[in-house]
Symmetry: C4
């Protein structure tokens, strides 16, 4: 079942090592079939070179395995929460890519410091609050999803316009219109985190870009007035 | 038309990923035929692996497409302004190469800190002032070119001796006697930005090199008394 | 003799250049046969491209060569001390991987700053005290092992839960259930050192992660309640 | 003439791009035949992929071309001064490798901060004083050599024990018993510069290693009591 989506999720997973976003098995990509409400996700702890489309695991939105011989990613419950609450997204990526992790470990959001950021993220990439002990001890992975949703809800952020988050002391999740789109956002996030880390070191007093420049760059690539690229 | 120049511009574009100057499609190279006043430039948002000489777009100096099925780079208007005002240049490169972007986001010029810089740039690489709201909202890409020209004019800088600029909160443009020469300058700029960033961290009180050392290194490679290399 | 272990140790050694952990010959891996009390280790100063399983050297736990035409690694005595005192380990790695060396040269432990660290190391990775002159002049390599053991003993650290140490002003040693496992820990150590170095630069006032998050991540991968991956 | 040495110098030059020590043509290696007092050196400004043993240039110790159709490296006069004054060296390397340049541009020596340094350099790697205007204007390359020799003479440094120097605001020169040995030292210098730069950022109050540890590591690899590696 879902052979096409399995192939798509498999190929998106294989892009993580290609773009140097993962060490060993530290990352996973999923995709969702919105009609069937089924999620396809990488199996837990399996090396990338051993993956194949057939090894992808199919789960329902409560994380129950529907098809597959392997255990799904230990982060499956987080993915499911995000699919339930962010209704436009069809792909999710989790990695421990180093520059994004640096901000997550520092407990700091990634400010919008220039047009490279603005081309993809319509404002700072937020960091969640630290998770509480009771959230970590019980249903940790589900509650990781909850604290991401809380971050977007309480700050009135639009997950379609800021398709990334840093989980405090942990690392990044990104998402998008497809698994491939989510990987694209993971690559941009890592590049932007690297650039902005060094900008802060070089000139900490001048980080936030002008709002009108942020508007211009995000909106020339997204929405009905976009004019970048060949489509539209 | 312009088959030779298309091939040259195509090959120069393909050097951007080779030298690790671009992520995805974040960069473009153009070249100009000064007799015909026509510019050949990369199409907008097309992946490098899908490029070919035939896909290059020909525009006039007002940015109107003269030949080609694809839309030209969204930065075309910036290139056109530079070709109009910097009369000796025949190639232009724009990238978001990370170390140059770090200085652009910090709003800081790259000081001339050593002979690696002086071999190519005859003085600091300037950063433009921040663009004003009205410059961003209307004719943004053309006005980006205008603010670059203003930077060189107001500071009496010679674009032939300093073939690079940082656009504030955005990134670098470089140029040269040919598209290939402009790529060469983009590579040097990125290397120099990396070195000088770390020099500033290590010893912020001692950055600017002696003027006579700057003179020596620039002039042993450029101008009528040059003696580096095999020609002359 | 020990043909299987030689092959295993050879292959583990060849992973050091693959994972960019060594420059030239600056690293070595060993493995132990706990029944025979014999250690297989890389020969001293031999280039990785010239290695083969047959060139591995067999020594007893006092470092005497039992088989092999080549001299064993100059660090052999350190390995032997660790095998004697850390009874559950079957493989050891020594490298000069740069980010781990940075902490060793700074004389600082690597704090547990996030879940990437916690997935492998159950607490900070310790740094030894500086070695005394008499320890360096005589039996230096053996005493290097002694000061590592002292570090774990005096601070009541469990080498099975923190499979790495930084030798002051020198570099890292890691170990594990097998030579391959020890290499795995060397890779993680380097990645974690890189991330946490930059976290300290970005936000020095907020480094240590919550103990309950450390517990959660270490214990979901290790011990009887682990649930990460396909086994168990 | 000197076919063997030309091949050796050619191969040593080709290691510079292999070890990521050069961008474009920013580096050169030479070797000397001490009996004939002739130096073989890379031609000036020629791309590495276009080099061959036959293109190497033979000069005498005053820098006069004895054989070869191409102009020798513009740094030839510096090499000649070093060969005249450092009588045990048979190979010299000059690069603009970035981490070494960072220290050169900062005007700071590379302190001996750990055993990785001590294994190759018996003390800090010195930086020259800034060159004076008259030294730069006239006979610049020869006087670059003179200021290197002055640095070693005035501080009573032994070029056989510290086979590297940083020329102020310029970059590194290294040397050795052969062209290959000089390249080896250039690689180590770059690695050590990278490590120690970050150590200074992490803990500026604790850089210099103990003298007895420096002695131990340098002398276990060099001199009559060396015991590292397979020879001796």
């Amino acid at each position: 079942m879902l052979e096409e989506l399995k192939k798509e999720v498999y190929e998106a997973n294989m892009l993580l090592p290609k773009y140097n976003l993962v060490t060993f098995t530290w990352g996973n990509v999923s995709g969702i079939d919105r009609e069937k409400n089924l999620v396809v996700i990488k199996p837990s702890g399996v090396e990338y070179e051993e993956l194949s489309p057939e090894k992808m695991v199919v789960v329902d939105l409560d994380g129950n395995v529907v098809e597959g011989d392997l255990k799904p990613s230990s982060d499956t419950a987080t993915h499911c929460v995000l699919y339930k609450h962010f209704s436009n997204i069809n792909g999710i990526v989790h990695t421990h890519s180093p520059w994004a992790v640096v901000f997550a470990q520092a407990g700091l959001e990634i400010p919008a410091a220039g047009t490279t950021h603005a081309d993809t993220f319509y404002g700072p990439v937020p960091v969640t609050r630290a998770m509480k002990e009771e959230e970590v001890v019980t249903d940790y992975e589900k509650q990781t999803g909850d604290v991401i949703v809380e971050t977007f809800t309480e700050r009135s952020l639009d997950p379609d316009q800021i398709p990334a988050v840093l989980v405090n002391d942990h690392g990044p999740f990104t998402w998008g219109k497809s698994p491939l789109d989510a990987v694209h956002h993971a690559v941009v996030l890592e590049e932007v985190a690297k650039m902005t880390y060094h900008t802060i070191q070089l000139n900490p007093h001048r980080i936030d870009m002008d709002q009108y420049l942020l508007d211009k760059h995000f909106l020339r690539k997204h929405g009905k007035n976009a004019y970048y690229g060949q489509t539209k």
